[in-house]
Each structure stands twice: as structure tokens, then as C-alpha cells.
Subunit: 418 residues, 2 copies
């Protein structure tokens, strides 16, 4: 089944907002063994929408359209869909009653009264229910192409995609090819190094593709096997993934979709250890990433964002003399911070970071990007100097990654040693 | 000038990564009064790339292509470009020497050795220099359409776009229409409320478009005026923006591209006040957002991520009795945290947040999403209860927004009162 996607919105074509729906839809289809052939984005122009619908309709068996179904005047998708498929616009009683129902249910900070415009749909279409919002979706068949129209709000779109569109398509797919994929997530090495380590694994002629995707500061390596049967696809996929795992070893922080933060959370829960964090240049980013995950209160005791020297002295017990002699950005202060936060919080592990994220504050022997990371544990305390490069934000991000990956390796080795 | 964009990559069409290049390019073009007509994404398939190039080449005066120029085997753009435009692939000495030069310069954590593949370019093309990476870009003219090929790595792409592509296009544009745009950024009201407040301002028939873009949890309202002259466009734009400003008033946190965090940083610097933050459910997100900005060490003294009750008692001096009687998520504890962090840090302002981000931990009278925010200042202490809804992550995000927007309003009113 040839499937295409179409995103509609001036905010997309003018670059005001990044379009996350494209990847959400593509991912959901991949899970069904379906691939997106082509994606198009156009602005809120009736003619551009109509011409894109016509182009995709000609070459695809199904088109999934997102955006432009809202209550405001710049939302033109419904009208364009009607014109492109030769239908009249009619008031849908079903849509009306849905909107009435939803306006009762929703009572968040950002939801509000509604307009009748959203109850107008092209004639002879099937409503796609929207359980979390007011904009109704709809689907229709035009020249042997299924067309699905969903709102652009990512959470509403995703729910409707999974509840309605995917099951509908799934029933109609005559699965000739099975696609199985696996993903290894890697932090540390560069693209060319990974490429060299993995040389010879991909065999596109036999249906085994490999892709490396750099997503600063980490990398996702994807293997995709295509065969006539489930067994055939797995026979291609599994040994290749195992070879890649062996070669990349410690660089891999997860397989599948787990983030580094999620892996770390599991390791913490299994270890029974507790953690406290003292941050200077990363300014709370490490604590924020750790507490992003539910259940983190089970092992995360506290974070100290000790931006000023005063805070380092008062809350962590860093010696004034040390700060004066070595400077706030030094191996000695990082060590004192890690030990300090471990001591005052009573945690098992104390993690500390101090550095110069820039753009100012660098010197000849400690340029912007100089970062000290220290880990104080029951079995020792280790401190390491790093030299990162990039913008302030990039330095902060790579600092938090390096620190969290260090924790991952520590917990992983500890678990392996048992 | 009709401009289209084409993104290439299996990682995009399979949904493994969101494509930020589309919006970067569109924004840069908008600043030149140029609009993207259509965007297409295809995977790493030579035939799909060729057919997309042919389609866009037919209807556009310029096509900007990103992705697929890397050193790895799945990068096929160069070969597809050569075939689509009837050119041979040749080793470019210019590209070779660029690659040699760059490999010396680059010495970050993520940069590495190189392959010869990147020195192969289609014949009769002009090299587009890449000052920050090894993959060379190139441009060519085919059937009266300028085609630009840039690497997919966002930072490299952006630099080359601004250094080479935009100036090249700028020289060739015969500017018939002037586009001027303005942006108001709003936090607080819902889309329909904003729509109602702004009714009647847009006049698309006269060339004044208005768009509302919801980017959880805030909204961007864009005005775009199109006219024959600079003066004509401004005469359309400025009064409309002023009317919108008057009607939305306190909801607006910035005009243009400044984020809430940036606006707050300016207000802090102007006020001369210092800040300390105590966070429970937001887990460091507020401190992280504040310290994201250079110069924040001038007013941000420290952050305490007091996740455990022990940390609230020890580092903020919250009374054990209060925690026992009222619970950690209560108006009283929020107030004690704000006053506590202000006292121990010696800051002018103390901001505290305590709440239930979920998914667990809710009760009947304090369901998930219950958040108390407290601000302790020299002229008083205010605490407010909020009921947010959404996922754990959404609740944390809206909590940090609400807290930071409160700071903005406080500093803004203080400045206005002077």
C-alpha cells in the first residue's frame, strides 16, 4: 500500500513551528510494516492544498492529511478537501453533537468555547472521532485513494491516528512484505567511527538496510529487514543486530526507543541506590532530566543548583580556600561538590558538575567548554576534565549527557559485577 | 521567485527524527520576503529523490535540498542529483582540499576521520563551502531552476544557507512584493479566546494575514502584510499589531522572537534583583530554563530541587509539623519553601513550586495536576493554587511556564510603577 502524508499550515511553511506530526505518523505506519512514500507540506492556501491532494491522490493508495481543521478563519482544509473531491460542504449533525459533548468534558487551562465552523464537513464522508479535542476528523474515498483528515494538534492527531486510521488501514493491507526493525542508541563515538565499526553488516541487496542518524549529541543506528515472512525478516535482522551490539558494546545505552534517562531510571530502581546532584554550569538540567520520569522520587533525593560561590560554600561545604586557590571551575571544587552533596543529603551517590558554558568566562587555560564532572560513591570518588565545544546550549546539553552516561556506566558495571 | 524545499533521509520518512531544517530554511527565506511554495520529504532512495527533484524542478525557480551528503553508504543525494540532471560524478579537487583542511580544524568530541566519497560531486557544479563540517554542499542550474544541495546536520546546513544560498538568491530576486511580518507571543488564554479578542483585525483581501499557532503551552500570533512597497506593508502591519497589543495586553510576553525566558532575563538585569528557586514537582526545570541564558549568574543565586521531605526540612527550613499536618503539596509548604529559599540564599526574590506531576500520587482533594506556586518578595509573599491537566511532562512544563510568567508580571509591574 502506497501511503503519503500531507501537512497543512502557514505556520509550517513559514517556519514558525516544526512539524512533529510527520514523524509520528511515519513511526506508527512503520510498526504496521507500512512506509511513507512521500511527504508534502503546503501553507493555508486553498489552491495549494487542492493541488497537493491531487498530486498525492494520483500516486498513493492512502493520504493522511493533518492541520487546518481548527475553528479559526485561516483553517481551510475542510473547504479545500470538499472542492478537491467534488463534494458540497454540509453541517454534520454527528460533528455538532460531538462538539457539544466535548465542550462539556474539557476543562483544562487552554480549552474554550467553540464555533459552528468545525461542524461543517464535506458531504459523504465518515467522521473520525476526536476523543480529546473539539476538531472532528473525517475520511473519504476519492479516485480509489483513501483520504484521512486529522487536526494538526499533535496529541489529538496521534490519538485519532491510533484509534481510527491505523486500524482501518491495517484491515485493508494485504501484507506481502514484512518489515522488522531494530534500533541501537549510542553515545560517545562519532559517525565515521560508528560507520567503520559497523562496516559490512548492512546487506541492502538481501533486504537488510542500516541507517545512522546523528541526533546531537547521540546517534541512532537503525536496522531494517524486509522479507516475505516474519521468520525471514527476523533471520536477517537478529544476527546483524547482535554483531553490531558486540562491536559497539559500551557505547550503546539502549536498544529500541528507551532514552538514556529512562535506562538510567531503571538502573537506579534496580540498584536501590540514591542520588543527589550539585550543578553549576548545567544549571538544573541534570536534575530536570532525572525528575522528568515518574518514580524518580524513589532514588533522587535532591539537586543543588549552586550557581554562586556563596551557595557552593553554604549548601555543599566547599572550602573558601579551595575556591580562592583553584577557582570554581576546577577538579578540586568538582570533587568537593560531589562529596559535599553526597554528605549533606545522605545519598549513596553524589554527582557534581562545574564548568564554563560560555559565551563569556573562558580563559587561556580554562577556555569555554571546560567542564569538570565528579562522581562520589561508596567505593570511591572520580573526577574528570572534559573539553567540549559548541554553543552555550550545546555545551550544557553535552555536559548533562556525559554526566548521566557516566552514571549509567557506573550502575551498569556495578550490576554486572554482582 | 517560486522556491521549494526537499528533505532527504530514511530517518525522516521513517519518523525516527523530526526535520528541523524545513522551518529553519522557511524562516530564513521569509526574512528576505520569500515564501516556500511546497516542501517534500522522501527517503534514501535514488529513484524517489530523482522524481522529487524532477517534480519540484518543474514548478519552482529554486529548490533547496538537505540531507544525504554524509560519508555513509545510505547517503545517496549526490548520485541522485547527478542522474536527475544528466551529469557525471567526478572527484572535486576543491572538495578534497576542503575536507583535508576541515579534518585538521575540527577537534570536538563528535568529529572524526573522513571518507573520499564526500569529495565526489556532479560535474559542472559550484561548491558551497561548509565552514563547520566536512560534507561539502554544491549548487547547479538545471532547466532554469537553481538547485542547492546542503548537508542535513542542522548547524552546518544553517551556516551554509546564510553564508551562501540566501545571498545568492537575494541578488537574483526581483522584488515585486514586500512582505513584512510581526509576531506576538502570548501565554494564558486559549485559542478561541484569542481569536475572539482579535476579531476583525485580519484583512486578507487587503494583504494583511493573521495566523494563530498553538505551541503548547503558549501561542504565537503572526501578522503578515504584503504590499508593493516597504511603506505600504508597514502601513498595513503596524496599526494592526498595535490594536492586537492593546486587546491582548497582559497576555503578551514578547513581540518578535524573544522567548519568555529571554524577556525574563532582561527584566531581571534591569531590576537589579536576585532570585533563588525551590522546586519540587518541576524538578529543576525552572532553574534550568533560567540558567539556559548567558549572564544568568548575575541574578540567579541558586536553585534547590527539594524532592524529598528531608531536603525541604534541611535546606529550606520547612517545619516538620507543617509537612505532617498540611502535606508537602500545600499552600503552607509552598509559602514556607519560597520564604525559606529567599532567607537561606539571601536573594531578593524566592520562588517555590510544589505539586503532583503524576501519574501517581494524586488524591481526591489533591488530584494529579494540583500545583502550588509561591513568590516571596521584599514587598510581600503570594501563594496560589493551580489545577493543571495533561501528562506528567505537560504538567511540569505548564508549571514552569506559569511560575516564570508570574515572575515576568511581577518584575514588569514593578518596573512600570517606578
Amino acid at each position: 500500500m502506497r501511503i503519503s502524508t500531507l501537512s497543512i499550515g502557514d505556520e509550517l511553511i513559514c517556519g514558525e513551528v516544526a512539524d512533529s506530526n510527520v514523524s509520528t505518523i511515519a513511526r506508527a505506519l512503520m510498526e504496521q510494516g507500512l512506509r511513507v512514500l512521500r511527504h508534502i507540506t503546503v501553507g493555508d492556501s486553498e489552491l495549494d492544498i487542492m493541488s497537493a491532494l491531487a498530486d498525492l491522490g494520483r500516486t498513493s493508495d492512502a493520504v493522511i492529511v493533518t492541520g487546518g481543521l481548527g475553528p479559526t478563519a485561516d483553517d481551510l482544509t475542510t473547504r479545500a478537501a470538499a472542492r478537491a473531491t467534488g463534494r458540497r460542504l454540509v453541517v454534520s449533525e454527528e460533528a455538532k453533537s460531538h462538539i457539544r459533548q466535548m465542550s462539556g468534558k474539557l476543562a483544562t487551562l487552554i480549552v474554550c468555547p467553540l464555533s459552528d465552523k468545525q461542524a461543517m464537513l464535506p458531504a459523504k464522508t465518515t467522521l473520525i472521532p476526536n476523543p480529546t479535542g473539539t476538531a472532528c476528523g473525517f475520511q473519504l474515498m476519492h479516485n480509489n485513494c483513501f483520504m484521512f483528515f486529522l487536526p494538526g494538534v499533535p496529541s489529538e492527531m496521534e490519538r485519532m491516528l491510533h484509534d481510527s486510521v491505523i486500524p482501518f488501514l491495517g484491515e485493508r493491507v494485504t501484507r506481502k512484505r514484512i518489515i522488522r526493525s531494530a534500533q541501537l542508541n549510542v553515545f560517545g563515538p562519532c559517525e565515521a567511527e560508528v560507520n567503520e565499526l559497523l562496516a559490512g553488516i548492512a546487506r541492502p541487496d538481501q533486504g537488510l538496510q542500516m541507517g545512522i542518524c546523528v541526533t546531537f549529541p547521540w546517534m541512532r543506528i537503525t536496522f531494517r529487514a524486509e522479507a516475505d515472512s516474519e521468520e525471514g525478516a527476523e533471520a536477517l535482522l537478529l544476527p546483524s543486530v547482535q554483531t553490531a551490539r558486540d562491536r559497539l558494546h559500551g557505547y550503546i545505552f539502549s536498544q529500541g526507543t528507551d532514552t538514556l534517562d529512562e535506562v538510567l531510571a531503571v538502573l537506579f530502581r534496580e540498584s536501590g541506590l540514591t542520588l543527589a546532584v550539585a550543578e553549576s554550569c548545567s544549571g538544573g538540567m541534570i536534575a530536570q532530566r532525572i525528575t522528568d520520569l515518574p518514580g524518580s522520587s524513589g532514588y533522587f533525593l535532591e539537586g543543588q543548583v549552586t550557581y554562586s560561590n556563596g551557595a557552593k560554600i553554604r549548601t555543599l561545604g566547599v572550602a573558601v580556600k579551595l575556591l580562592d586557590e583553584k577557582g570554581a571551575v576546577s577538579s578540586e571544587v568538582a570533587t568537593a561538590m560531589a562529596k559535599g552533596v553526597r554528605r549533606v543529603s545522605g545519598s549513596d551517590l553524589g554527582l557534581a558538575v562545574t564548568g564554563i558554558a560560555g559565551p563569556d568566562g573562558g580563559s587561556e587555560d580554562k577556555p569555554v567548554g571546560t567542564v569538570f564532572i565528579s562522581l562520589a560513591a561508596p567505593d570511591g570518588c572520580w573526577t574528570k576534565r572534559f573539553q567540549f565545544s559548541g554553543s552555550r546550549n550545546e555545551i550544557r546539553i553535552i555536559t548533562s549527557w556525559t554526566a548521566l552516561d557516566w552514571l549509567r556506566r557506573y550502575l551498569w558495571q556495578r550490576a554486572a559485577a554482582r
